[in-house]
Symmetry: C2
C-alpha cells in the first residue's frame, strides 16, 4: 500500500477550502433534486408545498461521487487533461446532474435549465419527475457513456473508452456493491489488455461506502491488507484514501490524486519514449473509504442513517407531512450554506465556477462522452473482392466457409483503418475457431502479459481482443463504440446469452439516445453469432441455443436488426452493410463450416436488400400459383429445405413448389411493427394468402409465428426449427432430432397439401425408410450416410 | 505461498507408483474414448478401421483432471472422506467417464458398459457418438452435478453443494479459461458465506494448464507472486503444485493435498469445538500448473502440441487416413502400457482397483451428486394461515402487499425446516426491498465477515444468502438443489436477465436428467421476480424489462412453468405449489407494492389450479354470449383491466363483458405444446371463438400471440403490454406510456366491438380527456391524480 506522506505536496489550504465549497454546492444541488419542488435557494423557510410529493432517488452514493468529481476537476485543470468520468454507481444521478450544471455543461445542452435560481428550480423539479429526467445517470446526462442501473460494467466501459485514445484519461468510479458482481470482478484484468503507448489510461476508484440497499458490502468489510493483496494480485498499485472529516479528506484526496496521476504520467512517458521495460506496468488505482450518505443526516427517528445502509435512497422520508422530518431536511440543506455557494440569483459564485475546467475539458462536455462527435466513417473494402463465384449452373454444388470469407473482408477492413486506429474485433477466444483467422495475417491478439518465443498471433499492438469472458468483450466494445469508434463481436451463438442483460441495457441506451438531438450517432454494435446450434459437433447440448434473437426481437424496432445469410456472399453483403450503420444493434447468424453456396454477389445484394425473396431457379411454379411454399431462414435450414425441395420435385414433378428464402428476419413483421417489414402485398406475393408454407427456421419456431401472426396466411405456416433436442452427434442427426431435416420437411409438405399424399406414390414410405436408415447408420458408423454428406443441389 | 517441504510427509514411492499407474489407466481410457471404435486393449496393431471416422472431444484438460481424480481417491481413502468432484472444465468429459468406469461406478449405473474388454470397447465407441454419450461432463456422467459446457459456474456450484453439508468436501477444479469469466472471478468470494461449523468444505483447485482454444490464459501467464497475492486477497491460502515430470508431480500433489486437507480439518475442528477465533478462516486452495495435453504427443507434423493450445481438442487428427498420424496415436496410447494396467480381459488390475474408494465413497457413486437420493420433502405450513380475507362484497376494495404475505409464509417455512437445515433463500441484496423481510424475524443474512454492533439481520448462521451478484445467487442455489435441498430465489425482474444463460444451462440439465432413470428428482428452482417493470419508481428504464419469461417459454414444456398471480392469495398458493414440485423451473412474477385483492384463498386455489378462469363477479355477461372478453395476466394489468371494465360497465350498462384472468401462462398454449395447456373446448369456453379479446399482459405482448397462435380465436386477440417505453415516472404514467392503462384498454375495447362506438355516447371523448388530464396532472404535480390513486373496484 502506498500511504501518502502528509507533507509530500503542498496544496494550499485555501485551494482545498474552495474545493470543499464546490463539493458542498454539488451536494446541495443533489439533495435539492431529490426533495424540492420549489424554494431552491431556501430563501424562505421550508414549507410542505416546497417538497415533492414522491421522494425518489439515491442519496447514499452521491456525496462520494461529488467529492471525486470536484477533485478530478482540479486535476484536469492542473494537468490540462482530457478526461471523462464513468460513474459506476449510476444511482448517483443527482450528483452527475449537479456537477454538469455547476460547470455549465448542463445549461448549454438544456438551455431551459439555466444557471440561475429559475434554472435551479427546474433542475430540482425535473429530477425523477414525470416528463423530467430519470433518477439514474442516463443518456440524458451530459458527459456520460454509462447508465449504471444494472451494475457490473463500469470498468469495462472505461477500458473500452480508453483503447486507442492515448490522450484520454477515464476516471472510473466502481461502487462496492457493483464490485461484488461477476463482470466487475473480471473487469480488473482489463489492464492486461491496455497498451500504455497507444491507449489512454483508466484510473479506477473503488468507492467503499460500506453498504448496499440493506447490508454491508463484502469489499468494504475486508481489511486493508486483504484489499491491497487483492488489487496487487489483479496487477494494480492501490492507493488508500479513508476518512470522514472533510478537511482532512480533501487533502488526502488531492495528494493521492497527485500521486496517482504522476504514476500514470510516468508509465505513459516510459512507454512512449521507449524506455519502458517490457513488463506490464502496474497501474495505479484508488480505494476510497468514505461514509455512505456522507454529510447527510446522522440519525433519523433515533436510527443510524449516515454511514449506514439507511442512507441508500432517501434518508429522511415523508418531509411534506412530518414536520420533524422536514426540519431535519432543512437543517441538512442549510448545513451546506447555499448563500455561501450561490449568488442571490442562484448562479454559482465566480470563485467556485473558476474551479471547473473550461469548454470541452469539462467532463460534462468532453466529446469522448458523446462519441458521435468524434466518429469517423469506417473505410470498407469493395465487397466484390470477396465474391464467391456462383454461376447459374453451379448453385449449391460448390461449397465455401462463409465466415472464412468474411474473415478476409475483416482483414482488409483492419488494414484500411490501420492508420485511423478506430476498428477492433472482439471475441471470447474464438476468432480462429470461428474461422475469422485471416485477420491474423495483418494483426494479432493484443496481449500485454509475457509473450513466449513459440506463441503465435499475440502482440502488444494487436487489434483483436480475446478473453474468455463475453461480458468483457461486450463491455469493451460498448465503451469503444460509445466513444466514436467501430467494432465487431464474434461469438459462439449459445453463449451470447451470457450478455443478454448487457445487450438489453445497450439497446435501452440506444433507444433513448436516438431521441436526443445532442447525442450524435455512434456506430452500431454488430454481432456475428457462429459456431451455431446446428454445428456443435465437438460440444453438444450445452452449446446449442439459438434463442438470443428472440430476446433481440423484443426491443424497439428502430434499434435492432437480425440477419440469417444463407451463404458466403450474403454474409459478406450483410456484414459490410451492418458495419456501415449507426445507432443500431445488428445480429448476424451464420455458420463456419463449409456449406453450399447459392447466390452470386450480385444476386446476394438484391436478395439482402429485399430481405426475403423467391428463389425461382429452385422452385417449380412455372409462373402459376404454387401448391406449396417451402421457405427457410438460416444456412443449415436452407440446405435442408433445398434437399427437401429436390426430393419432392424428383418424386412429384407436377407439384408446383415456390422456394422462398429469408435473410432479414424483420422482413416478416408488419410494416407497422418494423421499418424493414414487408408490405402486406409484398408479403402475400411471397407467401401467398392460402397455400401451406413449410418454413425451415434456424432457431425456436415460435419466433416465426410471433413475427408473422398478423399476416394473412399465418394460419398456414408450419415452422420447423430447434425444439431443444440436442447432444453431441453428427450434423445431420442434429437436424433429424429436431425434425428440421429434409425428410421431415418433405413429409410435412406432403401432409399439408390437400390430396398430395395420394399423388406422391411411395414417397412417404421412402422418406420414412430413409429416416430409419439414417438412424441405424449413424449409430453404427458415427458419421452421416454418404448420400447426406455428398448431397448437392442438382441444377 | 506455502511451499511444501519435500521431506515433510513420507508417502512411500510404491504408493505413488501405483497412483501413477492408475492415472495412466485413466489417461489411456480417455484417449481411447476420443479415438477408438475397436481394438480397445491394443491387442492388435492399430488399423484405420479401429479409429472413429469423426474425432470429437477435448484432450487438453483431461490428463490434469485425471491426475487430480487419482490423488483425491487417495485422500478419500486415507481420511475416509465424503467427497464429490466438480469438474469446471466440463470438456474433460472423457476423464470423468474414465475415472468413474475405473472405480466401478459407471458399470453399476450402465451395466451394458461392463468392466471388461467388451465394456471398454463400448465405452470408447459411445463417446461423442450418435446415440452415445456427450463429449462433456453431462447429466449422463455419474458423480457430476455440473456440466461445464458454459464456463463460469464450477465454484458456485461447489459452494452450493457444501452449504449445510458439514461432512462433505467438494473438490472443485477451476480451469484457467473459466477463471477469466466474470461469474468465476466473483465466485472466489463465496468462502465469505461458508460457515466452517455448519457447512462442508470446498477445496478449489485452480488448474493452470496455460491455454484456451487458441491462446494463453491470463492467469497462467501471471507470475506466482501476483497469483498468490490475488488469492490471498480473495481470502485463501494458496498452495502451488507445478511441474511436468510425473514422479515428482505425484509426490508434490500428494503432499500438498495432505497439507490442504490438514488445513481444512483444523479449520473445521476449531469451528466445531468452539475454539475458533471469530475471524473468517483462510481456507486452502491449490494452484496446479501442469502442461496442457500432458503425456500426449509433444509435436505433430513439426508443430508444438503438448503444453500448448494445439492440445486443446484432438491433438493428432485424421488418424484413419494418415498413417503417420495413426502411428503417433498408437505410440501415444502404448506409452501408457495398457497390459500393465488391465488384465487380459480388460478389467483394471486388482492392485489398481484397490486404490479407488468403495461404495458411496467413490466420487462417481456419492449420493450428494445425485441429490434426489438424499432429498427430504420440504415441510410447508398450511396456506390458509396466510389468507387475506377477501369477502364477496369487498373484492378489489382492500389492498395488501402480496410479497409481504409470501414473506410470512417463507418465514414459517424456514422455521419448519430449521432442524432439517435444507432450505435457504437467495437474492441479490433485495430480500427486504422485495418485501420478504418477515424472514428476518427467524433468521439472518449469512455473513462471515466482521459484524458490527449496529448491524442488523446479519449472522453466522443465517439462512438468507445475499450478494450483489445474480450469478452467485443462481449458482449457489443450483448447487444446493442438485445436492437434494430446497431453495427460493427472489430477484428484481429486469436483472434476472443477468442469469439467462445459467437458466438455460440448468433447464438443459433438468431436461436430460428427467429422462435418466437413475437420476432421482430434485427440487425445482423457483424464482420470484418482483420489483417488476410497472413499479420501478426509484429507478426507471434500466430496471424495466419483463422479457425473462419469453426465454423461459422457449424451453421444454415439461421443465418450465410461468405464473402471474394477480394478488396475495394467489401468490401464496402458487409459491406453496412451486416449492413442492421437483425437476422443474418455476417463474413467479408478482409485485411488492400494496395492490387490490381479488380472490379469497379458496377461490385462489380453484383459480390457480385451473390456470385461467372467468371472473363472473366482475363481468356483465349475464349468462349469454359476451360481446367482448377483457382478459389479463399480472397484477398491474389486472388492476388496469378491472378499472377499464368498470369504466365500460358504467358507461354502457348493456355491454356484455366477460372478464378472464390468467395465472398460469402455459394454460394459453395448446395441450400438445404444454401439459398445462387448456384443451381447445376449455380455451374457447373462456375466450370464445369469435369475440374480440382485449388482453392486458404484464410483459411483451408478442408472448401472448406466440402462445395462442394455434387457438381458434387468436385473430381477435388484441394484447397490451410492455412496449419498451419506460423511465422514472409515476406508476400510472408507466402504464399510460405503454398503453396498458385503463383508458387505452377501454378505448381499444370500444374500437373492437362492432357498433359499440355508436352506443358509447361521449365515452371516447371522456377517456381521451382523462388521458390528457393525466398527462398534465403528473407533469405538474409529480404524482398520479387522486382518482387514480384512490380508485377501488366497486363491488
Amino acid at each position: 500500500m502506498q500511504n501518502v506522506p502528509a507533507s509530500q505536496t503542498a496544496i494550499p489550504d485555501i485551494e482545498l477550502a474552495l474545493i470543499d465549497r464546490y463539493w458542498r454546492a454539488a451536494n446541495y444541488l443533489s439533495v435539492g433534486q431529490i426533495y424540492l419542488l420549489d424554494n431552491p435557494l431556501l430563501k424562505q423557510p421550508l414549507k410542505p408545498e416546497h417538497i415533492k410529493p414522491r421522494l425518489l432517488g439515491h442519496w447514499g452514493t452521491t456525496p462520494g461521487l461529488n467529492f471525486i468529481y470536484a477533485h478530478l476537476n482540479r486535476v484536469i485543470k492542473v494537468r490540462d487533461l482530457d478526461m471523462i468520468y464513468v460513474c459506476g454507481p449510476g444511482h448517483g444521478g443527482p450528483g452527475m446532474v449537479a456537477n454538469t450544471w455547476l460547470e455549465g455543461s448542463y445549461s448549454e445542452i438544456y438551455p431551459d435549465i439555466s444557471e440561475n435560481a429559475a434554472g435551479m428550480q427546474k433542475l430540482f423539479k425535473q429530477f425523477s419527475f414525470p416528463g423530467g429526467v430519470p433518477s439514474h445517470v442516463a443518456p440524458e446526462t451530459p458527459g456520460s457513456i454509462h447508465e449504471g442501473g444494472e451494475l457490473g460494467y463500469a470498468l469495462v466501459h472505461a477500458f473500452g473508452a480508453a483503447f486507442d485514445n492515448p490522450e484520454l484519461v477515464v476516471a472510473c468510479v466502481v461502487g462496492d456493491g457493483e464490485a461484488e458482481t461477476g463482470p466487475l470482478a473480471a473487469s480488473w484484468h482489463s489492464s492486461k489488455f491496455l497498451n500504455a503507448k497507444r491507449d489512454g489510461a483508466v484510473l479506477p476508484i473503488l468507492h467503499l461506502n460500506g453498504y448496499k440497499i440493506a447490508s454491508p458490502t463484502l469489499l468494504a468489510r475486508m481489511g486493508d491488507e486483504e484489499l491491497e493483496s487483492l488489487f496487487r494480485g489483479y496487477g494494480y498499485e492501490p492507493f488508500f484514501v479513508e476518512g470522514h472529516e472533510p478537511a482532512a479528506m480533501h487533502r488526502k484526496m488531492a495528494e493521492t490524486f497527485d500521486l496517482a496521476f504522476n504514476a500514470i504520467q510516468l508509465i505513459q512517458q516510459a512507454a512512449r519514449d521507449g524506455t519502458a521495460s517490457t513488463e506490464r506496468p502496474r497501474w495505479p488505482m484508488i480505494i476510497l473509504r468514505s461514509p455512505k450518505g456522507w454529510t447527510g443526516p446522522k440519525e433519523v427517528d433515533g436510527r443510524k442513517v449516515e454511514d449506514f445502509f439507511r442512507a441508500h435512497q432517501v434518508p429522511v422520508s415523508n418531509c411534506r407531512d412530518n414536520d420533524r422530518h422536514r426540519e431535519i431536511l432543512e437543517t441538512w440543506m442549510r448545513s451546506y450554506d447555499p448563500a455561501d455557494l450561490f449568488d442571490d440569483d442562484g448562479a454559482l459564485r465566480p470563485e467556485l465556477k473558476a474551479l471547473a475546467p473550461e469548454g470541452t475539458k469539462r467532463m460534462g462536455s468532453n466529446p469522448h462522452a458523446n462519441g458521435g462527435l468524434l466518429r469517423k466513417e469506417l473505410r470498407q473494402p469493395p465487397i466484390s473482392d470477396y465474391a464467391v463465384p456462383v454461376e447459374a449452373g453451379k448453385r449449391g454444388a460448390i461449397t465455401a466457409q462463409a465466415t472464412k470469407i468474411l474473415g478476409d473482408y475483416l482483414r482488409d477492413t483492419l488494414m484500411l483503418n490501420d492508420e485511423a486506429k478506430n476498428f477492433r474485433i472482439f471475441g471470447p477466444d474464438e476468432t480462429e475457431s470461428n474461422r475469422l483467422g485471416s485477420v491474423f495475417e495483418v494483426t494479432d491478439r493484443v496481449w500485454m502479459e509475457e509473450i513466449r518465443p513459440y506463441d503465435v498471433q499475440l502482440g502488444r499492438e494487436g487489434r483483436v481482443m480475446e478473453v474468455l469472458s463475453e461480458h468483457l468483450c461486450q463491455g469493451w466494445l460498448e465503451g469503444y463504440l460509445l466513444t466514436g469508434r467501430h467494432g465487431f463481436f464474434s461469438c459462439y451463438e449459445a453463449f451470447i446469452h451470457i450478455v443478454d442483460s448487457m445487450f438489453n441495457q445497450h439497446a435501452k441506451w440506444m433507444k433513448v439516445t436516438r431521441r436526443l438531438g445532442w447525442r450524435k450517432p455512434v456506430s452500431s454494435l454488430t454481432y456475428l453469432l457462429t459456431s451455431h446450434v446446428w454445428r456443435q459437433d465437438h460440444n453438444g447440448f450445452s452449446h446449442q441455443d439459438p434463442g438470443f434473437v428472440d430476446m433481440v426481437a423484443n426491443k424497439k424496432s428502430d434499434v435492432v436488426r437480425i440477419y440469417f445469410p444463407p451463404d458466403a456472399n450474403t454474409l459478406v453483403w450483410v456484414g459490410d452493410h451492418c458495419l456501415a450503420t449507426y445507432d443500431r444493434i445488428n445480429v448476424i447468424v451464420a455458420g463456419k463450416q463449409p456449406e453450399a453456396q447459392w447466390l452470386s454477389m450480385q444476386e446476394a445484394e438484391a436478395h439482402c436488400r429485399a430481405g426475403a425473396g423467391i428463389w425461382d431457379w429452385a422452385g417449380s411454379e412455372d409462373g402459376g400459383e404454387p401448391d406449396l411454399v417451402m421457405a427457410s431462414a438460416g444456412d443449415v435450414p436452407t440446405l435442408e429445405m433445398m434437399a427437401a425441395v429436390q426430393l419432392l420435385r424428383d418424386a412429384i414433378p407436377d407439384l408446383r413448389i415456390r422456394v422462398v428464402n429469408v435473410v432479414d428476419l424483420m422482413a416478416l413483421q408488419s410494416q407497422d411493427q418494423h421499418p424493414h417489414g414487408l408490405s402486406e402485398p409484398d408479403f402475400d406475393a411471397l407467401f401467398t394468402t392460402d397455400r401451406p408454407v413449410i418454413f425451415a427456421y434456424h432457431g425456436y419456431p415460435q419466433l416465426i409465428h410471433r413475427l408473422t401472426y398478423k399476416r394473412n396466411n399465418h394460419g398456414n405456416f408450419h415452422v420447423h426449427g430447434f425444439i431443444e433436442e440436442g447432444t453431441t452427434t453428427t450434423p445431420f442427426d442434429m437436424t433429424v432430432l429436431n425434425e428440421l431435416d429434409r425428410y421431415h420437411l418433405a413429409l410435412n409438405a406432403i401432409d399439408r397439401v390437400p390430396g398430395l399424399k395420394a399423388r406422391s406414390g411411395d414417397l412417404v414410405a421412402m422418406l420414412e425408410a430413409r429416416l430409419d436408415e439414417h438412424f441405424h447408420y449413424v449409430r453404427e458408423h458415427g458419421e452421416d450416410m454418404p448420400e447426406i454428406r455428398d448431397w448437392r443441389w442438382r441444377n
